[in-house]
Amino acid sequence: MLKKLFFLNILFISILLNLNTLNSIEPDIFVQSTVNRASSTLSGNNTKEERIAKLKKIAIDTVDIKGIGFYSLGKHRKGLSQDKINEYSEAFKSYFLNSFSSRLAEYSNPVIEVDSKEVLNENYTIVSSTLVATEKRPAIKIDWRIYTKNTDKPLIRDLIIEGLSLARTQKEEFNSIIQNAEGDVETLIKSLREFSNQ
């Protein structure tokens, strides 16, 4: 009886593990499919407004906007009330989507090839890719920091272009704005809103 129960348990655990594996999405495949989605949006016969709308949808589906927002705020998040954090998150989301889509909307048919991946830990995998060279510019190496805590739904947390982290750059930019406003996060929120309304 005990032996049977033991085998049943093992069987149950194995099924669970397999189901988990079946549902999980490999980070490199996730990046390639995201790139393909963006690429088809950019190469299709869409107006600029349509492109921007579609790119925003892709960003909402694939980027951890809230996580990047918290990362960008860094040490200044400590001590903020929940209401203020919510206010910031909302302003950041709007800023991020506008900035992200307008940056990408200018490109036409970019070709990105996924080269390799490196698992850092259970939370992060770095996927390496190359933006193929064109007549105007050389090839560009792009690394993607993929948040893999939920293996069913990996999310992009950073783009590292030729070794330079965009999230890190944004964090230091936000820090500079807050420091020049003598630590007032409200100034940053105001700047985010102004940028979004441009």
């Binding site: 990362y71 307008s102 940056r103 690394d143 920091r145 070794g163 890190r168 944004q170 500079s176």
Partner: protein, 262 residues
Amino acid sequence: MIRKFGIILITTLALSVNSYAGSDGELLLKKNDPANVKDCFEGLNRATFAFNQGLDGILFEPIAKAYRVLPSPVRKGFSNSLNNLSNLITIPNNIIQGDLKEAGVNTGRFVINTTVGVLGLFDVADKMGFTEYEKEDYGQSLGTAGVGPGCYLILPVLGPSTVRDTAGSIVNLLGGDPWYNVSVKNNTQYFNEKDYYISRGTAGVDFRAKNLESFDNLEENAMDFYASVKSLYLQDRKLKILNSKGVVDAMDDSDWDEIENN
């Protein structure tokens, strides 16, 4: 000459906060982290940055746009030739950093590209399977030796730097750059100072032309362009000092862990 070189090194050591030799990789990483580099002269830096942006708008950007009109093989030839010339600074720095193997490779690269590659216009060494070329300079050598970056600086015309990197650039003018020595310092029958300044100017235009869209994109989407450029410059210098080809080696994950734990 050696005395001048010594003065530069001592000045840099004195100006660079937390600097001492013999640090390990982790300490180098921490010391060169952009967040740890002080912007001691921020007011002056921002004013110089605005001046440089104005100069870029009326001078460098239009020239870079005109340069982009040149056929791609011509631009590639210029770019190759300038890269080849930079070997003259890279090789002594490979030696200073104790990387004798890379010094040998770069010497071979320089000889082949200067001769078979027609003064560096063609990167024949690359076609022969030489490893990817990595530029080195005296600022990087000082950084590798454990000298901290010191304060962040914006130099008129030349752009972002640090106290350490500026000192490194001065070494070029004090005998550390063989190309400067044979063109400006010792006016030989083959080269003169015009050749040197044309090569430096072309290198600036070539860099600007390669980054026209990136700069515009960054400027349009930045709320504080000065802070963005500062961060990118310091991240780039950190990577170069660590001689890291893999992004992972140069990253500090503790920042990301912070958002998990709150």
